[in-house]
């Protein structure tokens, strides 16, 4: 067993893990952050998407030891108290989910996508960018709508702040 420590949602955490422990297992089983889901064995579905050092990654395809010393953000770390993150609010508003299983990964992918496209997003870009996130329920339509709406709100916020 190896002791790892990292910053998860702004809090320094540590725990003993095996070399083979996946980051998603550490998050869910050691830290109890079960918002991050596992939907496949093949690194394809994206339900496990979290941010590592500010960029989206699949936590099922990274070892916890690889994340030693890094900064992780999960779905639990997005809202500010009771105020939903704009992407969470947009998913609620536009009904961007049905069963909700893919949703944490979708939202973590969306926040990363919006960050990487400060120029704004269009529908084709959002659909292409969602290649790594699979949803079995919605047909994606409302997910795309929610992401476009959130990108707009967040863009406006920045414009006002500037």
């Amino acid at each position: 067993m190896t002791e790892v420590s990292m910053l998860v949602n702004g809090r320094t955490v540590s725990g003993a893990v095996e070399g083979r422990t996946l980051l998603v297992q550490f998050l869910r089983e050691t830290l109890g952050l079960t918002g991050t889901h596992v939907g496949c064995d093949t690194s394809q579905c994206g339900a496990c998407t979290v941010h590592m050092d500010g960029r989206s990654v699949k936590s099922c395809s990274i070892l916890a030891v690889q994340a030693e010393g890094s900064e992780i953000r999960t779905i639990e770390g997005l809202a500010e108290g009771n105020a939903l993150h704009p992407v969470q609010a947009a998913f609620k508003e536009h009904h961007g989910l049905q069963c909700g299983f893919c949703t944490p990964g979708m939202i973590m992918a969306a926040t990363d996508m919006i960050r990487r496209h400060p120029e704004g997003l269009d529908e084709a870009t959002v659909r292409a960018e969602l290649e790594g996130n699979i949803c079995r329920c919605t047909g994606y339509h409302n997910i795309v709508k929610a992401i476009l709406a959130a990108a707009e709100t967040m863009g406006d916020g920045e414009a006002q702040a500037a």
Partner: protein, 237 residues
Amino acid sequence: MYEVNYHRAGSLDEALKLLADADDGKLIAGGQTLIPAMKTRLAAPSDLIDLRHIAELTGIAVAGRTVTIGDPHVRHMGTIGGSLANNDPAADYPAAMLALAATIVTNAREIAAADFFTGLFETALEEDEIITAVRFDAPERAGYGKFPNPASRYAMTGVFVALDGKTVRAAVTGAGDDGVFRSGELETALVTDFSPSALDGVSVPDDALMTDIHASAAYRASLIVAMAKRAVTMANG
């Protein structure tokens, strides 16, 4: 996944030493190929030597055109070195390297792309060799046409074309029985006229192409021509 010992290397020398000391050590870069393979127990190294924190191995001297590989989350981790070392017959980078006549630089030597890819998941790399850089001259024009497998999004057939002065190179991935290869038929057609219509009526033999549940060799042969047209259109665009 089987138990594994993890080591984080701080320098190339340290990585080489860790690799030499390990029972059955494996290098790990982005892990986007290796970890999935370990999860299914297709790979079971005793030790992992993490290259991600070695400063000597990062950086891009010349940025080329974008080729889309995997999804954003995979790209945030995956590396070109890992892709080349793995030489998946359906990977994209091997085609680019071959068509760009790239040089693969390791801790020990320099290997021409033409000598580097030696078969399915096989390369000229020795057990204890680490890719440290990849070098190529930006060609006058280059493009890539890819027919992604609808499920995995890897190339079911991909063609990378590059035009440099009077030389045309066209490399095909996702289709060959032995992995990536250059197509003489495509090159001969394109060298006199570097346009998609030059490929009208060109046919590629299918005897050394793959047949699997996704596509037959004959279908791949026709995809090669179709993807080459897309690649040339992109290069000229």
